[in-house]
């Protein structure tokens, strides 16, 4: 789950690797400070989020949208998903694959190319002969549709009730 969390906040895969490692090492160093009777996930994500912000500060390019309030909501999403039925993280978010399959072809093709074929938005645009702006809008629309679909499947509905 920590990797999904980091991948939600950072795009650079090498930086994600570093942040994962750094988070776990900080967890190790500070484990004495953790309330082991409480949930472990939020504490680990708290450490991870501070490291993510430090990472952006070092780059001097903190994303404007990555505010404290956004981080709090992201964290609540993760904690609520964690409470869903299922033994593993994959079980808990199995509905996502159904939602991807249910996407209209226009969105499914760009989402598939962007995330599963590992193409950049520019390459996806070239593949489907779209302008970059149109491609980005289609990707963003696809993500919004997936969020809506996950609400109908009950995955995000639980999130809204607590946010």
């Amino acid at each position: 789950m920590l990797m999904v969390y980091l991948r939600s906040l950072v795009r650079d895969e090498a930086a994600i690797d570093d942040l994962f490692q750094e988070t776990m090492v900080v967890v190790w160093r500070r484990l004495d400070e953790c309330d082991l009777d409480g949930p472990f996930g939020p504490w680990v994500r708290g450490i991870a989020s501070r490291l993510v912000l430090a990472h952006y500060r070092k780059q001097k390019a903190a994303p404007m949208l990555l505010s404290e309030s956004v981080l709090q909501v992201v964290d609540r999403h993760f904690e609520n998903i964690n409470l869903l039925a299922g033994d593993t993280w994959d079980d808990k978010v199995a509905a996502l694959r159904e939602c991807i399959d249910a996407l209209p072809e226009r969105q499914k093709s760009v989402i598939g190319s962007r995330y599963f074929d590992g193409l950049s938005a520019a390459e996806v645009a070239e593949r489907f002969e779209l302008s970059l702006e149109a491609c980005k809008k289609r990707l963003q629309r696809g993500r919004a549709m997936l969020a809506e679909c996950l609400k109908t499947k009950g995955v995000l509905a639980a999130l809204e009730s607590t946010s």
Binding site: V4, R11, D12, V25, D32, M64, V74, L139, L146, A147
Partner: protein
């Protein structure tokens, strides 16, 4: 979500350069929920698309190695005062990492979740016990030799002709914690060779030769059975992930009683493929209470080194050795010539 926020998100997630700073004055709090949902969906998709079991395993291994390095750096008298404290901390973290590793690898590498969790938890217990700065003495017994009547097709003539210079059967290994050991073997010349590591330097000498000393702690481990196969008797933390990644691990349902009356549990680790270095099978009998390894069978050792097919390491004593026992000075007469391989003196 308004258009400007939507555009900012789109730029952030899909532009060629990560995190282009926007001059927009859109307040982030305006659409926290929508932004958070988009980020979550992006993270989920990116994770599905980029997930790579090998990379995940390497990531866990890298963490374990960094922690191992920190533990090693802190070992010593001062750290010793905090052993119970740190041991608990390590146990909790390894549990957390084990959960992460088990979740990542479970359907790819292992069987049913329940049995994997139990096996992993047991392996962690073994690792934790081996990291204790307590002294253990193991005896090596050759269980089986490779037949010498016919060269297997896959084995080169050079490897077939190679003969191990030492007689490993009957060798003694003294171990303290994760990084200190002393091992004495009988050479086929009739002389003995003693090698070891005190956690700062490794060393080796023949009865009739000079003492070789190196800052590379693995420099003289080649003769330790299992060490060349990345087995977790020595340097146990660093090799934990290797065992988890390359082997299917099962915890036996039944327990047996050791010769000293200790109740022993058994882990069976079977190599997943020929691409994994190490013995085909490793069996570990450990104290069900505290995780101390009592017996360890390494079966199907690589035969290219000219050694046996399988060896058993058996715990024969848990002595209280002198503090300097793992230094080379404690094992040879004063004045023996010393050769520092790293050029230091």
């Amino acid at each position: 979500m308004n258009d400007r926020t939507d555009d900012l998100l789109s730029d952030w997630l899909d532009d060629a350069e990560e995190n282009p700073e926007s001059k927009s004055d859109v307040p982030a709090s305006e659409a926290s929920e929508a932004v958070a949902q988009s980020l979550l969906i992006h993270g989920l998709l990116a994770d599905i698309g980029r997930r790579d079991d090998v990379a995940e395993s390497e990531r866990i291994q890298a963490v374990m190695q960094r922690i191992d390095a920190e533990v090693s750096a802190e070992s010593g008298d001062v750290a010793l005062k905090h052993v119970p404290h740190r041991r608990r901390r390590f146990a909790i973290l390894t549990s957390a990492l084990t959960i992460a590793a088990a979740v990542m690898l479970m359907f790819v590498a292992f069987g049913p979740h329940q049995s994997v969790s139990a096996a992993m938890a047991s392996l962690d217990k073994v690792v934790e016990a081996a990291a204790k700065r307590l002294d253990r003495t193991y005896k090596v017994r050759v269980v089986d030799e490779y037949p010498r009547d016919k060269r297997p097709q896959k084995l080169s003539q050079q490897a077939w002709d190679r003969e191990a210079p030492e007689e490993i059967d009957g060798a003694t290994i003294h171990v303290r914690g994760a990084d200190q050991y002393v091992m004495t073997v009988m050479l086929k010349t009739g002389m003995t060779r003693t090698s070891g590591c005190d956690g700062k330097v490794s060393w080796s000498f023949r009865e009739d030769g000079q003492v070789h000393v190196s800052e590379d702690l693995n420099r003289f481990r080649g003769a330790v059975p299992g060490s060349q196969q990345d087995m977790p008797l020595l340097n146990i933390h660093a090799n934990l992930s290797q065992l988890k990644i390359g082997y299917d691990i099962e915890l036996a349902d039944d327990q047996e009683t050791g010769t000293d009356g200790t109740l022993l549990s058994r882990l069976t680790c079977i190599r997943k493929s020929n691409e994994v270095r190490g013995p085909k099978q490793v069996e570990v009998w450990f104290d069900a209470e505290d995780g101390t390894v009592h017996k360890m069978l390494l079966d199907g050792l690589p035969r290219g080194r000219g050694g046996p097919k399988s060896v058993m390491l058996e715990l024969v004593d848990q002595p209280d050795l002198p503090s300097d026992f793992f230094t080379h000075d404690a094992h040879h007469e004063p004045g023996k010539r010393i050769r520092y391989e790293d050029g230091r003196r």
